[in-house]
Amino acid sequence: MGELKLMKGNEAFGEAAIRLGVDAYFGYPITPQSEVIEYLMAEKPHERTGMVVLQAESEVAAINMVYGAAGAGKKVMTSSSSPGISLKMEGVSYMAGAELPTVLLNVVRGGPGLGTIQPSQADYFQAVKGGGHGDYHLIVLAPASVQEMSDMVKEGFELAFKYRNPVMILSDGVIGQMMEKVELFDHIPRWTDEEIKKNTPWATTGKTTDRERNIITSLDLDSFRQEKHNEKLQAKYNDIRENEVRFEKFNCDDAEYLFIAYGSSARIAQKAMQLCRDKGIKVGLLRPITLFPFPEKEINELAGQVKGILSVEMSAGQMVEDVKLAVCGKTKVEHYGRMGGIIHSPLEVMAALEQKIIGGSSNE
């Protein structure tokens, strides 16, 4: 068993980065994720592993530092919260276009605009549907515990390098700020220069005599080549859809109703499910762990079994659109969620199921 520690989600994320042998972190403070860079600075990773930690002048600069280091084959990461993530979206789109691996953490807070510093899940569209310009997808992982804030750093980098694609960890202010027991994985050494050359032969590590120059760019002014590049990206996204869907199911075998929720909402929905079961309502829960790729097939199958689905998220209803696409009219789908930094309670979720799905099921 690995080392056990009581940590904040943001701290666990920082510790995991050091232990994973991440080469660099570039960030900018914003609530509720400033603990990431504070933790990293306090831990002196430059002494522990040689990891670079730098506070940039802006989120824009930070993501472009990530672009540079990632383009040179380094394991590099950044983190921010909603307004800062919006600023990073330019660089994220460039990284998706140039196919650069990175892990990017969003500890979501309420918006729009400066919004609030309280937790929210209103950045789903931005994370899953694009956010920046152009036809691209991030691989999006949604942690629901401090343990996953640590584990997903490892998983995220594996996916990022496997597919040469940026990975977003879509967390929220609850998961980032709360303290839980976390089992930390053992230290993994940073890649050597030789390992970087082997693992990222495309990286700009300095031209050698045995290869042509490497170029990191998202630009191709020739539209036919640019279309080919886009087709290649889409084929990659289809591979990801085929192979990387992750989810968790609770009490789905005999379920007559289903909650679908990710991140902290999944924990609340899990409690609501127990309350419902106590009342004799047979409710199951599906928690998407990857939001892109989305567990469409599984949801579609469950839709044939249940009388209705309540999509629970701290937003005006974003993921519910993907749920509806997956369900494809097979059963009733409704959304429930609080906004603006308010966290819904299990009782509210249960009431929403009774009202919107069970009570309102006459129009089936």
Binding site: N64, G68, A69, G71, A72, T205, T217
Partner: protein, 263 residues
């Protein structure tokens, strides 16, 4: 001159100048007479002469020189508009022993990338910034740049830059020279053989500064022409540059070895 005599002269052992192999054979995307080509070649000349091409990583901007990686035969990255100093920071911090330079135009460096430029320099990143200043947005078709001279016409200042309405041109090089992280700051040109030789010496000093890890940014501005944007012939644009750009952007060293140069 007879053909025989010419043939006698044009022999490999008599070669005194040939474009460096670190420039690819791709036709430069620049307009006839544009100083970008000369500036590219000088950088590659220096990289070849210092024999650092295996360890040099360049960062291209957005602007006319967005395709610099098509012409410079070394590993390169293309950065988002204005972000080249941040991209270079990311590379250099992870590879302190590599040589990293950015190549940026005035729109890229002095407008949208002002923050990235100032902060990279203020942090004293050990990188080179080559700044091509032609007073205009060349690639997008000749719009007003932060460096467009007062009264100068562009497609977005068609009656001349009215400083009351459009603000003043930004002397970025003087501005950043005040920062402690600016180790070398100089302003050069590449329109005559003498200027080309001086500019090359400045670039060589910049690269040596980085190799020797002398703290801070080496910043080389090259005042250049944009004959298409200025709507002149190449030769006329060079004359116009001497008469109009140089009085506002005077050539010469501003800071060497971290110290201001007394003039």
């Amino acid at each position: 001159m007879s053909k025989d005599l010419l043939n006698e002269i044009i022999q490999p052992e008599n070669l005194v100048y040939k474009k460096t192999k670190l420039m690819t054979n791709n036709t430069l995307s620049y307009c006839p007479g544009c100083g970008h080509g000369t500036a590219h070649r000088l950088i590659m000349d220096v990289v070849e002469e210092l024999d650092i091409w295996k360890d040099t990583i360049g960062v291209a901007p957005v602007g006319c020189s967005v395709l610099a990686y098509d012409f410079m035969n070394i590993d390169m990255q293309q950065a988002a508009h204005g972000r080249a100093p941040a991209v270079a920071t990311g590379i250099k911090r992870c590879y302190p022993d590599k040589v990293v330079f950015t190549y940026q135009g005035d729109g890229d460096l002095a407008a949208i990338g002002t923050a990235e430029t100032i902060h990279a320099i203020n942090r004293g990143e050990n990188i080179i910034i080559v700044f091509i200043n032609n007073g205009i947005y060349g690639m997008t078709g000749g719009q007003m740049a932060p460096t467009t001279l007062p009264g100068m016409k562009s497609s977005t200042s068609p009656y001349g830059r009215d400083t009351e309405m459009m603000g003043n041109p930004l002397k970025m090089t003087e501005l950043i020279s005040a920062l402690p992280g600016a180790y070398m700051v100089t302003r050069q040109a590449v329109h005559t053989p003498a200027h080309v030789r001086k500019a090359k010496r400045a670039l060589k000093m910049a690269f040596k500064n980085q190799i020797e890890k002398k703290g801070g940014v080496s910043f080389v501005e090259i005042v250049s022409n944009c004959n298409s944007g200025w709507k002149m012939t190449p030769v006329h644009s060079n004359q116009w540059m001497v008469e109009n750009m140089f009085p506002f952007y005077p050539l010469g060293d501003i800071k060497i070895d971290g110290e201001f140069v007394n003039k």
